[in-house]
């Protein structure tokens, strides 16, 4: 790359201007990365949802329970290979700001249903043997400095009183985007303590099906089975249910596109202006290059190369900064956005967008440099 020094030397001839333009790219791509990460955090449930799992909820609302007796009926429906259930607990640890999701689970089927959550057999065994046992995700454990053996008091909001749990295990996710903020305890513990109100009831069912292709048919069969009963069901894929939750937070997609568009359009104007000035200032030099034998296409590539390099450096640093900042911001969100995560695809998309802006900003100045007549440019003083 014998022309590298030519591109770099030209790019950094006006250091302040270049630094400010790089800063514009940095801020824009940081924002792009952050918005994409926020969108990802809101849609995290959708992204990690199992394609072969269906959620069966009460037709009225997810906060309405279903009878535990449905489990056996569900297991008999063709295509269903596993059934488990969960309960939302909604407890508070120390302070209401310390949010994390707690579920009462049916331990063995739950473990089979979610193989993506990793926990040692010993810890599962300890959990199974302890009526007040609990398993917590590593994210939440780290957040509150919990370790195995700790006894944790949680104040119930739906189920009154203070509930004490023994931490028997800390699970990890098998993928970076897996949710490790959850807190699981025995359904039996909940049922025993809340027998007057909650006896024979669960929150919702999760069923595993033999093939994602059969999802619609099986969902229909489930809802038909329980139609016209006091507890009618609504069955949808885990992905659809998670998407429904994400939508409740607002149209993040629209926010991302609208804010991103404004930022990148402004960036395009800033960079385009910078490149136009940079080319206008060096008309004579470009003319000299042409006079000594550099072709029109070389001059076009030189100017475009500068613009692209500016975009790549500024954008790259912006995304790098975003990558470093997301874990910090995630912690600072107090559990609201536990998975503020800059995915590799977002990084690639960000760089692509930056290069597209670099191309769009550089193409007109590069074109005018290419069309430059040597004689005219040399005549200018």
């Amino acid at each position: 790359m014998k022309y590298r020094h030519l591109i770099f030397a030209n790019l950094f001839r006006k250091k302040i201007r270049t630094t400010l333009t790089l800063g514009s790219f940095l801020v824009a791509l940081f924002l792009f990365g952050l918005l994409a990460a926020v969108r990802g955090a809101f849609n995290q449930g959708v992204e990690v949802a199992g394609v072969n799992r269906l959620d069966v909820i009460n037709k009225v609302s997810i906060i309405q329970p279903l009878p535990i007796s449905y489990k056996e009926k569900l297991e008999r429906i063709p295509g269903i290979t596993l059934v488990t259930h969960e309960n939302w607990f909604g407890g508070v640890y120390q302070d209401e700001r310390n949010f994390f999701p707690q579920f009462a689970i049916q331990d063995e089927t739950f473990r089979q249903m979610y193989p993506e959550f990793i926990l040692s057999d010993d810890q599962w065994k300890a959990f199974a043997e302890d009526r007040e046992g609990a398993i917590v995700g590593e994210n939440t454990a780290e957040r509150f400095h919990w370790k195995v053996g700790d006894r944790i008091p949680i104040k119930g909001t739906i189920f009154p009183g203070t509930w004490e749990f023994n931490i028997c295990g800390i699970y990890k996710g098998s993928r970076p985007q897996d949710d490790t903020t959850q807190f699981w305890f025995h359904y039996k513990y909940l049922e025993e303590r809340e027998s007057a109100y909650w006896k024979g009831l669960i929150g919702w069912y999760i069923v595993r099906i033999d093939s994602p292709d059969n999802g619609a048919r099986i969902a229909g069969a489930i809802d038909e089975t329980f139609a016209n009963s006091p507890w009618e069901t609504k069955t949808e894929t885990e992905q659809a249910l998670a998407a429904g939750f994400a939508k409740q937070a607002g149209n993040i997609e629209f926010l991302l596109v609208s804010v991103g568009s404004v930022v990148f359009f402004t960036l395009l104007l800033v960079t385009g202006n910078t490149m136009a000035i940079a080319v206008r200032e060096r008309m004579r030099e470009l003319a000299v290059l042409k006079a000594v034998g550099f072709s029109d296409s070389f001059v076009l590539a030189l100017v475009l190369g500068e613009s692209l390099l500016l975009a790549a450096i500024g954008g790259g640093f912006g995304l790098l900064l975003c990558k470093l900042a997301t874990p910090v911001l995630s912690k600072a969100s107090g559990g609201l956005l536990p998975y503020l995560y800059l995915a590799p695809l977002t990084v690639a998309s960000g760089l692509l967008v930056a290069l597209m802006v670099g191309t769009a900003a550089g193409i007109l100045p590069a074109w005018s440099a290419m069309r430059l007549r040597v004689v005219d440019a040399l005549r200018r003083v």
Partner: protein
């Protein structure tokens, strides 16, 4: 041997060269039916009042402007009908430009400025380095190769410009007022250098100048007046 009567057959061979500009409704006839023959290793100076067409002639000979009529042949290549891309490649191989304002690239060192024409060749990095060191050695600036133009005097900048012009060993050098921006001492040094390039390195030099002292160094001085070449005097190059 330089001829303007259209009967020679030199390295540079110009016949019936016309150049017109349109300025609004007015047509300006800069060069009119100009004939010129310049042999290899000639040192020719073109003089004349402002607007007489000296720089236009130089631009046409260097292939950075196109004539309205006539032909220019250099070393057997007729450049007036070449495509833009062929002309660019031809310039890289055959022409060394020396400008009044030096036109060095300020963000490149003397070495990098001189190396520019060689980037268009297939020479290796080591070969390019050797050529650049030789060229800077000829102009007496071997010890300034890492200096930026702003760190050099005007005379030194022009010598870097000359090194850039000769580094690819072109067929001829076109010098447009190379001493126009220099004090007398620096101008003399530059003219000494150009004379030496003709005498010792057998370069062909075509020089446009207003400076009679500079023109005196040329073997042949031609005067341009209202777009017509008038033969001047021919002397032995000093």
């Amino acid at each position: 041997m330089v001829r303007v009567d259209g009967r020679g057959n030199g390295l540079v061979h110009v016949r019936g060269l016309d150049k017109k500009y349109q300025r609004g409704s007015e047509e300006i006839h800069v060069l009119q039916g100009l004939n010129l023959d310049v042999d290899a290793s000639d040192f020719v100076a073109f003089m004349g009042p402002s607007g007489s067409g000296k720089t236009t002639l130089l631009n046409l000979l260097g292939g950075i402007d196109l004539p309205s009529a006539g032909s220019i042949t250099v070393g057997g290549d007729e450049i007036t009908h070449m495509s833009a891309s062929k002309l660019t490649a031809w310039r890289a191989r055959h022409v060394g430009f020396i400008f009044q304002m030096y036109n060095l690239i300020p963000v490149l060192t003397a070495f990098q400025n001189v190396e520019l024409p060689l980037l268009l060749t297939k020479l290796s990095k080591a070969e390019r380095r050797r050529h650049v060191e030789t060229a800077l050695g000829i102009v007496g600036l071997a010890d300034r190769m890492d200096h930026y133009p702003r760190q050099l005097s005007g005379g030194q900048e022009q010598r870097v410009g000359i090194a850039r012009a000769i580094v690819a060993d072109p067929t001829f050098l076109l010098c447009d007022e190379p001493t126009g921006d220099l004090d007398r001492k620096s101008a003399d040094e530059v003219m000494d250098l150009l004379s030496r390039l003709v005498r010792e390195h057998h370069k062909t030099v075509l020089l446009v100048t207003h400076d009679p002292v500079a023109a005196e160094r040329a073997q042949t001085v031609l005067h341009l007046d209202k777009g017509v070449l008038v033969e001047g005097r021919t002397v032995e190059v000093r």
